[in-house]
Symmetry: C2
Subunit: 142 residues, 2 copies
């Protein structure tokens, strides 16, 4: 048994928004962020205390992209550790049900990117391998 207390686990969610051509929506992290400025990522963030995970996906997509989304299934899961927390990231496939693209201050650009082109982007490091694995897996299906 470990003598150092384990880090608490925290759940974050990501919304993988795909368009009719199968491209996914990437957002570029703006200078207001402490980490990974200029890196590209899927919309998402922490599940609030007491919040349902599916609600968090819809809320984060709305806050960060202006889009109203509906969940369609699981995109995958990954994890990483930061100083005090072990973060589990649950990514969900979603479709756009409404809204209009509009960024929050956390991002300064968006792009619709073919899955085959994800590897050419400067992806947010903790999620990069996971995003590329998704692209390989889904790219082979579509």
């Amino acid at each position: 048994m470990s003598t150092t207390p384990a880090k608490p686990f925290s759940l974050s969610v990501k919304a993988v928004v795909r368009d009719a051509q199968g491209r996914c929506l990437l957002l570029r992290r703006s200078a207001v962020n402490k980490h990974f400025v200029g890196c590209w990522e899927w919309p998402g963030g922490k599940v609030d205390a007491g919040e349902d995970f599916a609600h968090a996906v819809v809320r984060e997509a709305r806050e960060e992209s202006g889009l109203e989304v509906e969940l369609t299934g699981v995109a995958g899961v990954t994890e990483f550790e930061i100083e005090k927390v072990h973060v589990v990231v649950l990514a969900m496939d979603v479709l756009v049900a409404g809204g209009k693209l509009r960024l929050s201050e956390e991002h300064d650009a968006f792009d619709w990117v073919a899955l085959a082109d994800l590897a050419g982007r400067n992806l947010t490091p903790p999620n990069a391998a996971f995003m590329l694995e998704y692209a390989r897996r889904k790219g082979n299906q579509s």
Copy 2:
């Protein structure tokens, strides 16, 4: 856009309890269950409304196995649909930190099973492919 309303998503968790030999704890579904009586599964269940997912893993492991567990990382994710709900199953690797094996009425037997032997068990169908994929992946690591 779909004209039929999408099924709501629900989050369940599983605890993959491993012993010092790397075997995992399987529980056999008892006759009190409506479905899959006699099938083997990992401890787990639905995240309660407002409950943190990590708390749910610890609680379900305690309720169904009597063991006190600590999360160590992500085991994987899967999904399935039932009549009215789309279920996302987030499985976490855990270690035993205390407690004593004691089953709830939902199960009538337990066994510690080597990952290579999972394929020979009658696993609960919605999670079977996922459990075997875990066994292949982790079996190659250990």
